[in-house]
């Protein structure tokens, strides 16, 4: 039961079955009851006619005429029978139709009462019987008890009911089948967009398509858009990894070549120092490449918000230990409840590198402020992170070079190490910007990272 349509079809079939079953039961009961009532009325009529026809004979006994008005009493095996019994249940008279049949005597009713009963003949034919016990007053004033009994075979009635049932079932089955058919056709139409998504994803897998098309019903546009985001982020991620690996491998080759050259000429002056230089270079390359952003703006589907205040507190506590001797005075201004929608590691990288540089270069004061972007809500909003210190600041030309040309390792701002390059990369991967200026009040470097709000798939 993995498919939606088979689930729907099965549930609808079960519902139809229950509904039609109940309907059939109700109709069938109503029909049978109405039919039986009609039969009883007819039997009652026959009984009254019998009573009217009964006359005392010459011997002072009650008798019925040789021929009755109802022809079915005269035809043998007609299915309509009549009997006259005395008080001891002995048959005094029996209609011609009952010739050769033994109608069960059954229970005699109380005097003056009607009694309907269901009995059956010896051959199993079901009968509906009506008995009436009367006290007959003869002309001479003699009172005698009699039981008048009429019986009708239910064969034809049962056949009628069965026919009715057959028709009922037939028609309802036809209706149910038609409904199911119509429903499944409707479903096919409804599920078509899903099948389209499936086909398109297959096409993406086969490389025939870059993204899902936009032509989906309103209910599915969100899914399609998120799917596209996911595809984009996956593609970007694998591009990023490939690019990083590529860069890493290539940039390591230069120092490796230099080291080999140095080894071939071990007598060179300052061999150890120059060799170490190459190792440091390789180390820097690896460090830079490995500290690249973990997430990007396209990953916002899978990211949990980072509790900015807690992470900054952790960072500042750690840096207080590391810069214990310098003992910088931290001024932390984090908006209460502020969250960063991104990777925790990336956030720590942003704030950690900036704070570390500030601690390194400050005289005594370091300030970090984190506020939501203007106009954004505090939750999952964009973020403006500013770190300032009272150190010498970053020379304008170095700052410009970093911001404009795009950072390469050998161009990294002296003294600020690879930290700023990493910060810039991460900011950019979240669609943000990095700006460097002189702090107006502290006098040192003031570095601002602005990350725009994450575009929600619902509000896009």
């Amino acid at each position: 039961m993995r498919s939606l349509s088979s689930r729907l079809l099965v549930s609808v079939s079960v519902l139809l079955l229950l509904f039609f079953g109940a309907t059939i039961a109700v109709l069938d009961t109503a029909f049978s009851e109405a039919g039986e009532q009609a039969r009883r009325d007819i039997l009652d009529g026959h009984l009254v006619a019998l009573l009217a026809a009964a006359e005392p004979d010459d011997d002072g006994n009650l008798m019925l005429p040789a021929r009755l008005r109802e022809p079915r009493f005269e035809n043998i095996g007609s299915g309509l029978y009549a009997e006259l019994l005395d008080a001891d249940n002995a048959v005094l008279w029996r209609s011609r139709s009952a010739l050769g049949l033994e109608i069960p005597s059954g229970v005699a009713p109380e005097l003056g009462n009607h009694l309907f009963a269901r009995e059956s003949l010896e051959d199993g034919t079901p009968l509906l019987t009506l008995s009436l016990a009367v006290e007959w007053e003869f002309d001479d004033g003699k009172l005698q008890s009699y039981v008048f009994k009429v019986a009708e075979s239910l064969d034809s009635f049962n056949a009628q009911v069965a026919g009715f049932r057959r028709q009922l079932f037939g028609w309802f089955a036809l209706v149910a089948l038609t409904m199911l058919l119509a429903f499944s056709m409707l479903l096919r139409g409804l599920l078509k967009p899903l099948r389209k998504i499936e086909t398109e994803i297959t096409e993406i897998e086969e490389g025939k398509r870059v993204a899902l098309s936009g032509a989906f019903p309103t209910e599915l546009t969100g899914v399609a858009r998120n799917m596209n985001l996911l595809i984009d982020s996956e593609r970007a991620r694998s591009d990023r990894y490939r690019y990083t690996l590529d860069n890493l491998a290539h940039s390591l080759k230069t120092p490796l070549a230099a080291m080999r050259a140095l080894l071939n000429d071990r007598q060179t002056e300052g061999f150890g120092g120059r060799f170490n230089e190459q190792i440091d270079r390789m180390d820097e390359i690896v460090r830079y490449q490995l500290r690249k952003p973990a997430a990007s703006v396209a990953d916002n589907l899978v990211l949990k918000p980072v509790n900015v205040e807690a992470e900054v507190t952790r960072l500042v506590d750690g840096l207080r230990k590391v810069y214990h001797d310098k003992d910088p005075v931290f001024d932390v201004r984090v908006e209460r409840g502020m969250q960063f929608r991104g990777d925790t590691g990336d956030f720590l990288e942003l704030a950690g590198n900036l704070l570390d540089n500030a601690c390194k270069w400050c005289v005594k004061k370091v300030r970090i402020s984190i506020v939501p972007s203007v106009g954004a809500r505090a939750i999952a909003s964009g973020m403006v992170l500013t770190v300032a210190d009272d150190g010498p600041g970053i020379p304008q030309d170095a700052a410009d070079a970093l911001l404009q040309r795009g950072m390469r390792l050998d161009e990294s701002t002296p003294g600020h190490g690879i930290g700023l390059a990493v910060v810039k990369d991460i900011a950019r991967s979240y669609g943000g910007r990095l700006s460097i200026r002189r702090s107006s009040d502290l006098g040192g470097a003031e570095i601002t990272v602005s990350i725009p709000p994450v575009a929600s798939s619902r509000t896009q």
Binding site: R314, G318, L348
Partner: protein, 228 residues
């Protein structure tokens, strides 16, 4: 001073231990987290250097347990992972500083000295108390501006006492912290070295830098000029 180095890479650990030993430290080595944790909790340690990526018990776990058991000696972490996430995790667990691999030995040595002096309450690597000045980075002792020539063992003792200036240090503690494990332990040796130090630093017996407290131990008695 007794240092503990927990590092699973043998080359790195042995080189580190050898160079620290040359710098005058007694060094314990542990190659995995389990052994390291045992040493860290059971041995008299003045500072631990702990690699974060260890087999058996992680470096972070060792740091946490060491702090939970109330050991307050400084911890320097070595990490191959340069991301701030790892550094912050280590520092929040209770480490005091970090060095990122690969490192120059001088960097580790500088951090170790800084942490040790910090744990003694000194803010700078030159400890000054009255006329006595000890430069930990250069391992030089001067009294009234005059350099004092010390053997490495004498230096170890005066450094240990001076870093903890004002505290009483028992003979047993000195023996524990200054000898390597396999060195013969004889407390008389300490007395001899203290006597020599006094003679070298204070030949006229006027400044009395080292005080003997009978039955309890020794104390560097001069007032600190600065403290952290």
């Amino acid at each position: 001073m007794r240092l503990l180095v927990i590092e699973d890479d043998a080359t790195l650990r042995e080189s580190l231990a050898r160079k620290l030993g040359e710098s005058g430290f007694a060094v314990e080595q542990a190659a995995d987290g389990k052994e390291g944790l045992y040493f860290a909790l059971e041995y008299p340690i003045d500072l631990a250097i702990i690699d974060l990526g260890l087999p058996e018990v992680s470096g972070l776990e060792i740091i946490r347990q060491v702090r939970e058991q109330g050991r307050s000696y400084p911890i320097l972490i070595l990490t191959a992972r340069d991301r701030w996430e790892d550094k912050v995790d280590g520092l929040s667990a209770g480490a005091d500083d970090y060095v990122v691999k690969p490192f120059h030995f001088e960097e580790v040595s500088a951090r170790v000295n800084a942490l040790l002096r910090r744990s003694g309450g000194w803010a700078s690597s030159v400890l000054i108390a009255g006329p006595v000045s000890l430069d930990m980075s250069r391992q030089e002792l001067t009294v009234n501006e005059g350099a004092i020539d010390l053997t490495s063992f004498e230096y170890k003792i005066i450094e240990y006492l001076m870093v903890r200036a004002g505290q009483v240090i028992s003979k047993a503690e000195l023996t524990d912290r200054l000898y390597d494990q396999d060195f013969e332990r004889d407390s008389n040796v300490i007395e001899v070295f203290i006597g020599r130090l006094r003679k070298k630093m204070d030949p006229e017996n006027t400044i009395k830098p080292i005080e003997t407290l009978r039955g309890r131990g020794y104390r560097f008695a001069l007032e600190r000029n600065q403290s952290g």
